[in-house]
Subunit: 180 residues, 2 copies
């Protein structure tokens, strides 16, 4: 099966994934009475495993809901010493270089990876190891916060694949890496 | 006629309007054999005047083409002392506060303003004086450069209006300010 590292994330119009206070409340500023998932379940159905950083892991742990993932989760952290007992059967703590990490996860049979969290996505992009990005834009200017994208040594070309608009209010665009 | 301050601009996927070297070459990275204007002429046809900063003015002056604007241009700068002779019949040098500037331009009968250039757009947004934004996204991560958006004291909500895809490769989304 083809190996793909994919991003599925929502940003503000100015490219932030959390506001100045680290809050995600603005993500829910668009009325969504039927709780449509904006493509999340179809995306997860073609995901073998999830790679996220410590901040995203701790954010998810803080959600007032059951553990939301049915797929293996790898938490990438250089500072976290261990995973709390209640999550030990759900997540694996990993660190080290991104290419080695991807090889290790691929060798376990997980080929289609969901890469989540700003720092982790930026680390993958620095290694040119992101293949697809599905970016949902919430039409708000936050004016500061945690950026989805970071510095790169060289530009990376992507290609437009498709676009949708959810709830008549939220555009979502799929891009794929264009490697020459 | 309704007063509108509008942005019509292209950014990279990571929100830059110029790369790390100040270059705009990446804007032309998508093959465009028929030189389609991606909505620029229709936009200009409903524009009464243009407001831009010094950097944008000097960039346009440096283009190897005749002066591209048929509408009055106001160059907003606190540092530029005078306009070079060859542009004196085309542009007016202005400075001062953004609300006063808008009032002055409106009082001349120009109500639909095209606000251009990163610093100028950011100054207008800080005063909540942008009504519409048409943002064309070139699918490239530049990894650094001049940002379209800047810091804001408070978030600003916008509303999705419409989207198009040019050349099957370049998404363009129109947003309008949502004032409660």
């Amino acid at each position: 099966m083809e190996k793909r590292n994919r991003v599925f994330i929502a940003t503000s119009l100015d490219g932030y994934i959390a506001d100045k206070n680290g809050s995600l409340d603005w993500l829910f500023s668009i009325p969504n009475p039927d709780q449509i998932d904006m493509g999340y379940e179809p995306f997860m159905s073609v995901t073998d495993a999830i790679v996220m950083g410590r901040v995203t892991f701790e954010t998810v742990c803080g959600f007032d809901c059951p553990w939301p993932y049915s797929k293996p989760v790898f938490v990438l952290s250089g500072t976290l010493k261990s995973i709390p007992d209640e999550y030990k059967d759900k997540v694996e703590l990993v660190n080290g270089s991104i290419p080695e990490l991807v090889n290790m996860i691929n060798s376990k049979g997980y080929h289609r990876l969901y890469i989540d969290g700003g720092t982790t996505i930026q680390s993958f992009l620095k290694e040119d190891l992101i293949d697809d990005m599905i970016i949902t834009t919430i039409p708000i200017l936050l004016g500061g916060g945690s950026s989805l994208f970071g510095d790169l040594v060289s530009p990376l070309n992507f290609e437009f694949v498709s676009s949708k608009v959810y709830l008549d209010k939220v555009p979502q665009i799929c891009y794929t890496r264009k490697r020459d």
